[in-house]
């Protein structure tokens, strides 16, 4: 099936309609419909067990929806998962870096996995080293780096192939407050270059940095708007209050 059949628009990175995933009689993701604009920072929040991971797995082409549609980077998750994998980046809290490889070797490895051209690889490695100020760390083993640096490296590697969208699954867990903020500035810079950022976090202050956030409770979307609008709607001081209000009544944790 051709993806254009879904009237794919250029300024939309992710579009879902009634996306659903069932395991037996358990509905992990329940009929969710949303879109994410190109270059948007989209926060995907929910309690443990709300269905975030299942939804992300579907959007990354790793799990097939039971019903509904999801178009990611112009491809249908149900039928074109290979094309999706080439056009997205993914980073989780467990940075998938090889401790026993050097900084540049990690970059080289992932660039190869993404099937980038040799010439492009050398160029991108250099570009990232300069952007991160890592020129002197190029030949260091990853295990020797402080966690905040590993985190920035893992993020940069996840976008080494310049994907249309990057998925960040709790990227900032456990890092110190200053490093956590520097990391968000890196996210801002990435979004400004037009890469869509789809991010999950348990830090509610970070939710405030997103253009829009979506709150998932028991597999369903219960709120989707800009942080400012959500605070107005729920007469809350901050997003933590909004979250506590909505997620408190969840049946699944």
């Amino acid at each position: 099936m051709n993806s254009t059949a879904y009237n794919y628009q250029n300024d939309i990175s992710i579009r879902t309609e009634g996306l659903t995933k069932r395991f037996g009689n358990f509905t992990a993701v329940d009929n969710i419909t949303f879109h994410v604009k190109k270059g948007e920072i989209f926060g995907f929040l929910g309690a443990n067990g709300a269905g975030k991971t299942t939804a992300i797995k579907m959007l990354c082409g790793l799990s097939k929806p039971t019903s509904g549609i999801a178009i990611v980077a112009g491809y249908d998750v149900a039928t074109q998962s290979e094309q999706i994998k080439k056009n997205i980046g993914y980073m989780s809290q467990k940075f998938a870096l090889y401790d026993d490889l050097k900084v540049w070797e990690n970059m080289r490895l992932y660039a190869g996995i993404y099937g980038m051209e040799e010439k492009k690889i050398a160029y991108r490695i250099n570009e990232i080293l300069i952007q991160l100020g890592f020129e002197n760390e190029k030949n260091k083993f990853v295990k020797a780096l402080p966690i905040g640096w590993k985190q920035k490296l893992a993020f940069s590697i996840s976008i080494i192939h310049q994907p249309e969208i990057v998925f960040l699954d709790e990227p900032t867990g456990g890092v110190d407050p200053a490093a956590r903020r520097q990391f968000w500035e890196l996210i801002y810079a990435t979004a400004e270059k037009g890469i869509t950022v789809f991010v999950t976090t348990h830090y509610m202050d970070e939710a405030e940095y997103c253009n829009r956030i979506c709150i998932l409770v028991d597999g369903k979307i219960v709120a989707l708007n800009s942080p400012k609008k959500l605070k107005e709607t729920f007469a809350a001081q901050n997003i933590d209050e909004v979250f506590q209000l909505l997620a408190r009544n969840a049946n699944r944790t």
Binding site: G174, V175, D176, A178, R181, Q182, N238, T253
Partner: protein
């Protein structure tokens, strides 16, 4: 209840713990707050008698952690950061197993874990490995409590746990405290500091400060402001170019900045000056207010020039 004097530990020439001392009174919640890699887990392993320190002394309820390790193990509950229950045993079987090695039964101390266990009950036949992250944490805490320990060591119980469950867990710790249980807990979430009686802020194997949360906040002596406008990303950059700026960080829906203390300008004049400066740079809906520090602000000042912050953020502008 817990007394630690000058503990040191080196791994491969690296000082994992440097001169760590702390005192925890009976029935107190003592929080160790710091990012990953600051040495929290090493300290927990030493105090729970599974690792030997290179230097220093520590006692739990008067028992020495080296000589009296056997007695200590009967009186403490230890919940490690990494999930370490038996993945192939069911929820129920794990709990029965932990009760039996401490020669007790689930029934005898059920009142302690009732609130937690009721949430687990629907899944009691499920393998522990198949539980969600939040459920695993709840089960692990039940297992650490089943022998009614005097002291509870909780290594990052809220890591990866959502804000609602985190709040529930802290409510649970408060109840355990009221049962007289002494709790040493570590976390990387700065906002949990307020739930502790005393805290230590930890970075790179050292305690930066040990005190009550309110005393730490009182000792903060920077001039701190919250600033917001209609364009927050640009505001961050513009604030960093303000002549009197000392530090500037995003902080939820506002930016927190510290400014130089100058004799030429008082607070009101400075606020006025900053307002004018930002207005010239076309910021609208400006909000500038002198604020009190949070624990996170304190941590950032105390951490100062840690290696994680060596690279200036200029690279991303």
């Amino acid at each position: 209840m817990i007394q630690v004097e000058n503990i040191e530990k080196k791994y491969a020439k690296v000082n994992t713990l440097k001169d760590i001392s702390l005192h925890v009174n009976k029935g107190e919640i003592f929080g160790i707050i710091g990012p990953d890699g600051s040495g929290k887990t090493t300290l927990f392993r030493i105090l729970s008698t599974v690792l030997l320190a290179d230097k220093g002394k520590a006692c739990i309820n008067g028992w020495d952690i080296v000589k009296d390790y056997r007695i200590i193990r009967n009186h403490i509950g230890y919940m490690p950061g990494r999930f370490s229950l038996y993945q192939d045993l069911s929820v129920e079987e794990n709990l029965e197993f932990f009760a039996s090695i401490f020669k007790t039964s689930i029934e005898s101390n059920y009142y302690l874990i009732k609130d937690l266990y009721q949430q687990l009950e629907p899944f009691k036949k499920r393998r522990a490995g198949a539980l969600s992250g939040g459920m695993k944490q709840k089960l692990a805490l039940c297992c650490a409590l089943i022998h009614k320990p005097d002291v509870l060591f909780l290594d990052e119980p809220t890591t990866g746990v959502d804000p609602v469950s985190r709040k529930e867990l802290w409510d649970m710790l408060k109840r355990l405290k009221s049962e007289g249980i002494t709790i040493l807990v570590s976390t990387s979430y700065m906002d949990e500091a307020a739930r502790c009686d005393h805290i230590a802020l930890m970075l790179k194997g050292k305690f930066l400060i040990v005190d009550t949360p309110s005393n730490i906040v009182t000792q903060y002596n920077e001039k701190l402001w919250a600033v917001s406008s209609n364009t927050m990303a640009k505001l961050l950059i513009d604030l960093r170019s303000y002549p009197l700026i000392k530090s500037c960080y995003a902080f939820g829906d506002v930016h927190h900045i510290t400014t130089m203390q100058t004799s030429s300008k008082n607070d009101i004049e400075l606020q006025h000056d900053l307002h004018e400066y930002l207005e010239k740079l076309k910021h609208q809906d400006l909000f500038i207010s002198n604020i009190k520090a949070s624990i996170e602000d304190c941590f950032m000042v105390l951490a100062g020039s840690s290696s994680n912050t060596l690279h200036s953020t200029k690279n991303y502008e």
